[in-house]
């Protein structure tokens, strides 16, 4: 088993006689679904076997289908796989973190795709416009809440103003 110059020997190694290279990764960082996803992108160019190295590690063995791969080619292959595996693990983590959001959006989209309500559903729908409880006055308009209060002697007719604020007739 030959060591690779760019990857620590405890993580990866090459079997030049068999034309294979292996990578050992921690299960805690790289879940099996991420390993599968990364392996799946390589099955066109290589034969891939996933094994359990120990209780906490996966061992991925890549054998390029093209015979005669040298150490440099094997190192390139395992490096590319390591990068892909990192990307897959990150996508896996993002998907898990955003699962609730994705489910909510999907449910809303599916509910909208069900089409307009039926007559039976409309018949049961509550169309009353009763005001809801608003103890804090959040639903009040600004004018209702802070507008001028009408004075008791403010009973003059609309056309009886003194014209001070009437900018239409001065010219």
């Amino acid at each position: 088993m030959a060591a690779l110059s760019s990857i620590p020997a405890e993580l990866a190694g090459a079997d030049l006689a068999a034309g294979a290279v292996h990578l050992t990764v921690r299960e805690e960082i790289y879940p099996l679904d991420a390993v599968f996803a990364a392996a799946f992108t390589f099955i066109k160019d290589a034969w891939v076997v996933v094994d359990r190295a120990d209780d906490a590690h996966w061992k991925v063995v890549l054998t390029p289908k093209a015979a005669g791969a040298d150490a440099a080619a094997l190192e390139t292959q395992v490096g590319a796989f390591a990068n892909e595996l990192l990307a897959c693990a990150y996508r896996h983590r993002l998907a898990a973190a955003n699962r609730a959001t994705v489910e909510a959006v999907t449910n809303a989209a599916l509910a909208g795709a069900l089409g307009p309500p039926s007559f039976d559903e409309l018949e049961q729908f509550d169309f009353s416009n009763d005001a809801f409880e608003d103890p804090l006055g959040i639903a009040q308009s600004w004018e209702d809440k802070y507008g001028k209060k009408a004075k008791p002697d403010d009973g003059a007719p609309a056309g009886a103003s003194d014209g001070a604020d009437d900018d239409g007739g001065a010219a």
Partner: protein, 73 residues
């Protein structure tokens, strides 16, 4: 003869069986079960053929297992 060992923590037994069934016409395949592995022995007409059949059988089992995991997480 090439011996393939598929760890039971990784590969679904049904996926390995499906791969064996798929490649049985290309080489002689013998299956057995170890405590922690599904074992498949591949015997072909030539070393090159054995290597190819064993590799593709492994890829097929991997793909089938991944497909099963997606279908029933």
């Amino acid at each position: 003869m090439i011996e393939l060992r598929f760890h039971k923590d990784v590969y679904a037994g049904e996926a390995v069986d499906a791969a064996v069934k798929q490649f049985a016409r290309f080489a002689a395949l013998e299956t057995s079960e170890a405590p922690r592995h599904w074992v498949v022995r591949v015997t072909g007409r030539s070393a090159a053929r054995e290597r190819t059949v064993a590799g593709e059988l492994g890829n097929h089992a991997l793909g089938a297992t991944a497909h099963r995991r997606q279908a029933a997480p």
